[in-house]
């Protein structure tokens, strides 16, 4: 009942909208476009900063957030002025986005209710180790970013730990006991016993119990319940200080949880924290529960040899059965020494005589049993297993930028699992380089220096592989250096495999750069002639921090980078920036017809500006309002052989002063983007004059029909309209039943340019329409648009291209609009799609001979 009433009220209120006069609309609309651009630039800036080339501080993050908020508030104000206050709920949306952002910046989010008590590993935020602990944060990355197989599980967060303390009134008690110990009134054993007793006797809050039970019982098998304290797997090593319990049945998880929590206050942990000067800091423990993998064999891989004897090698240790044999050194193990350099030859292996192994007991726990005689002297790992483990290990090391220690298991089916990955601790610091790093690097030949823009900072080495086609991508070898002329979005799927990326074109704010940062792949863009200098098969080392590419593998530099004190990606400011970006940059609202395309549906800053832009344009395009509002305003009608019925509104500089009256001849168009699009659309043969099937003729006759006449159409939105200025065009084009929107900005400065293209509708059944969407996807991708399709909706974006590249793409769009208006009728089967792609490029053979150049793109 209630929503019905609300709607009724809305309709009553809307019946007499106060129309805002044209000159005002004109000003507000232009201001909106400018602010929209301003926010987009700030978002791009933040993205670029996350690549490591810039030095920034917290102040920058605070200032930028404030700037974005100011612009957004102004945009919301502007939209409401245009639309007679029909979007006041956007103010709430802004609060909803910026209040947590502010809390994030002040570091106050951790205790807030927004943070979960319990969260599945696959959904856990890797950039919040203070919430989920270091161990779980590493595994979350392995699963979510690197797509490595790690056992599923869930995390009982540090927020749950704090709630536990609060619930049991333990905070003051623990504090008091610690103070007494520091004052020498009790020894660490007494102190530990008293604190641990209080924790073990504590009651787990019911909201935590409910979640833990639900998730633990879903699993079916036994659980590993492990400590994941903040800082545990970071720069400090608490290795082995905190408890981990294995083979815990689902009903025992809560008891095990308390046991692991209590281990935060073991005598050893207390002494360690005191020694490290951390006693004053509040300790917090997250607990990671993971499904147990019944291991046929288990072990550990070190990505470097901690003894320092085997240079440039990984070392894998393996034994039959469960992991403790290796981890706790309970028996003899196999040792494999493998070269770090591709193709990772096995330098040597030492196979031990393994007489005993651990396996799980029915009903929980582990037991030691003899190894079958035939297996005792046999190697635990095949060459293929070693290959898999090495690939996993180096993938983790490349991401974390630190030598790693990985615990793994091989299950009964022979599948490899990553159980843990943490920074490898060296018993003594690695031997210093015999020479200063700067002098050492000077001994290697430099192929390229001081060119290009850093999209992600870092050092990577490998064999050069060029990629220009899909087939090249399939052939792209693991750990190769990707060299490409373009930074087209379709390259995304090989980014995680690349040791480094060098692109001749593109920008640090583009889509490929964003993906490279997500996978932390060192990336340089805008390196002219890279593909001529870096030829396939060549071994190179890419140091994007110094914008230098060396011939050969600069082992000293690679090692230097690995043992530096901190990978910038893991600095708190970078984590904060990434968490902020997650609330700012992603675009979730793609389809304006979607029911979530509302103020309440906006999840990010990007969504809000997208929404505002769409609503502002919608307001301009609303036919009844338009007619009233634009009475007396000079609206041009485009006069040409092509029956578009296009009205043109010039915001300034878009039309030559020679234009007479309200008739606009194509040669009088001065707007850069519109000229380019028109050149494509009006090109020879584009507006097909060939005879067409009967049903198509029916469609042609409907050219001037409005959308409202279409059965099932829901909105009356009017006519064909272009809003232009010298550098801008917003074009709404309804051709028959197809609806095209092109929004483009073209300036001399590439960083300000964009094209946004949306195509929807069609008179035929959904299958044919989807087929058409597929066709558009294929063609637009060839022009390096980033394409999203959803049913018959196609959204394509391209950003930051030079004026020449923009021109080429707008011409192509013009041709495409002409080409596709008849397509869904003719596309009879899926097999037709490639033929039509061919047909498009045949018709436009000139384009084909000059394959589209360069560019990057990103969401708009």
């Amino acid at each position: 009942m209630w929503p019905g009433l609300q709607n009724l009220w809305k309709r009553i209120r809307r019946r007499q909208p106060d129309l805002v006069a044209f000159p005002e609309i004109f000003d507000h609309f232009q201001a909106l476009l400018q602010d929209h651009q301003g926010v987009m630039e700030l978002i791009a800036d933040l993205g670029e900063k996350s690549g490591g080339e810039y030095i920034f501080d917290r102040k920058y993050l605070i200032d930028t957030t404030e700037e974005i908020q100011t612009l957004l508030l102004r945009m919301v104000g502007g939209l409401n002025l245009i639309t007679s206050n029909r979007h006041l709920d956007l103010y709430q949306t802004i609060d909803r986005i910026f209040i947590p952002l502010g809390a994030e910046l002040r570091g106050r989010l951790l205790l807030s209710k927004e943070m979960p008590l319990v969260i599945p590993l696959a959904a856990a935020p890797p950039d919040r180790p203070e919430l989920i602990g270091g161990k779980a944060a590493h595994l979350a990355v392995a699963i979510q970013n690197l797509l490595l197989p790690a056992p599923a599980g869930f995390i009982i967060t540090t927020r749950a730990y704090r709630l536990f303390l609060e619930h049991n009134h333990l905070e003051e008690r623990i504090h008091g006991l610690l103070e007494a110990w520091v004052a020498g009134e009790s020894d660490e054993r007494q102190t530990a016993r008293q604190i641990q007793y209080s924790i073990l006797a504590g009651v787990v809050p019911h909201e935590v119990i409910g979640e833990v039970k639900r998730l633990a019982e879903r699993g079916g098998g036994d659980w590993a319940v492990r400590s994941s304290a903040y800082g545990e797997d970071g720069e400090l090593s608490f290795a082995g200080l905190h408890e981990s319990l294995l083979h815990v049945p689902a009903r025992g998880v809560l008891k095990a949880y308390r046991t692991v929590l209590a281990s935060l206050y073991s005598p050893e942990a207390l002494i360690y924290r005191q020694k490290m000067g951390m006693l004053g800091e509040e300790a917090a423990m997250a607990v990671l529960c993971q499904e147990m993998i019944p291991g046929r064999a288990s072990g550990v891989v070190h990505t470097m040899d901690v003894s320092g004897q085997e240079r440039d090698c990984l070392v894998a240790f393996a034994a039959w059965g469960l992991g403790r044999t290796v981890v706790e050194g309970k028996g003899p193990v196999d040792r494999y020494v493998v070269e770090r350099d591709f193709p990772h030859a096995i330098r040597f292996q030492e196979i031990a005589r393994k007489e005993k192994q651990l396996r799980e007991m029915a009903g929980g726990g582990e037991e030691e049993v003899p190894v079958p005689a035939e297996d005792q002297g046999r190697e635990t790992l095949s060459e293929a297993d070693i290959g898999t483990l090495v690939r996993f290990a180096l993938t983790l090391e490349r991401y974390f930028k630190r030598p790693q220690e990985i615990e793994w298991a091989l299950d009964q089916e022979g599948q490899c699992w990553v159980l843990q990955s943490r920074a490898l601790q060296f018993p003594k610091p690695p031997a210093p380089l015999p020479q200063d790093i700067c002098e050492t690097c000077a001994l290697y030949a430099i192929l390229i220096q001081d060119t290009g823009v850093v999209a992600h900072a870092g050092v990577g080495a490998g064999t050069v592989a060029h990629v220009a086609t899909d087939a090249d991508m399939d052939r792209f070898p693991e750990e190769a250096v990707l060299v490409t002329k373009y930074t087209a979005p379709w390259l995304a799927r090989i980014v995680p495999k690349a040791a480094a990326i060098v692109a001749e074109r593109g920008s640090a704010a583009g889509h490929l750069a964003t993906i490279a940062r997500e996978f932390r792949v060192p990336t340089l863009v805008g390196v002219e002639q890279a593909s001529e200098i870096l030829t396939p098969g060549m071994k190179v080392t890419v140091d994007t921090k110094q914008r230098t590419i060396y011939a050969g593998r600069v082992k000293e530099l690679l090692q230097y980078e690995l043992v530096q004190s901190l990978a910038f990606e893991d600095a708190p400011e970078f984590r904060l920036l990434r968490r902020m970006l997650a609330r700012i940059a992603p675009l979730h609202l793609i389809d304006p017809q979607d029911q979530n395309f509302t103020a309440a549906g906006c999840q990010s800053v990007h969504d809000v500006i997208r929404f505002i832009h769409e609503k502002a344009v919608e307001e301009l395009m609303d036919l009844p309002r338009f007619v009233k509002r634009f009475k007396g305003v000079r609206i041009f009608t485009l006069v040409s052989d092509i029956p578009l019925g296009l009205k043109v509104l010039d915001l300034g500089g878009g039309i030559a002063t020679e234009a007479q009256g309200t008739r606009l001849l194509p040669e009088h168009i001065r707007s850069w983007p519109m000229r380019a699009l028109w050149a494509g659309l009006s090109g020879p043969g584009v507006w097909s004059t060939e005879p067409v099937p009967v049903d198509f003729q029916g469609m042609m006759s409907s050219l001037t029909k409005t959308w409202a006449d279409t059965p099932g159409a829901t909105t009356v939105t009017g006519f064909n309209l272009a809003v232009i200025s010298e550098n801008y065009m917003n074009l709404h084009l309804r051709l028959g039943y197809h609806f095209n929107l092109v929004d483009a900005r073209m300036e001399s400065e590439a960083a300000r340019n964009h094209i946004y293209f949306r195509f929807v509708g069609g008179v035929t059944d959904l299958t044919r329409r989807s087929r058409r969407a597929k066709l558009l996807d294929k063609i637009l991708s060839q022009f390096h648009f980033k394409v999203d399709t959803k049913g018959d909706l196609v959204v394509a974006k391209v950003l930051h291209l030079s004026r020449e590249d923009m021109e080429q793409r707008l011409q192509a769009l013009g041709r495409l609009v002409g080409f596709t208006r008849q397509l869904d009728i003719q596309l009879r089967s899926d097999e037709d799609v490639p033929d039509f792609v061919e047909a498009f490029f045949d018709q436009n053979s000139r384009l084909r001979e000059q394959p589209p150049e360069g560019g990057s793109n990103d969401g708009k």
């Binding site: 900063k49 080339e53 810039y54 030095i55 920034f56 501080d57 917290r58 102040k59 920058y60 200032d63 200063d436 790093i437 700067c438 002098e439 850093v454 900072a457 921090k545 110094q546 914008r547 530096q564 004190s565 901190l566 910038f568 600095a571 708190p572 400011e573």
Partner: protein
Amino acid sequence: MTENKLRILVLDDEPIVCKRLQPALEKLGFEVDTFTQSVEAMHQIQQTAYDIVITDLKMKEIDGMRFLEEAKKQHPQTEVIVITGFATMETAKQSFQKGVFDFIAKPFKLSEIQDVVTRAAAKIRGAAPA
């Protein structure tokens, strides 16, 4: 070669700035000490001569302007580079009047500061050839 290394002191109360500048400058062949506490840095320049000092302007305790004055007073040949998130024409002018080598607004690119430091080093080496 190693004994010819130029010495750089970095002072910024945001640890991230020190953490990132140190390896970036070491890789160029400089010897780098970093401080997040201005009092400690002040103490240090009174004891040790640095070829180049890189300092923030707005800090708790000792103000960056005072710090650079002191650095210049102790060792007039020290080249000072100012990095600040509060860049205004006024502060820039004031810094140059005090004889700083260059003035960089935060955030800045690593390559930007590397260029400035390299130029400062060239000036120092030019003035007193090793």
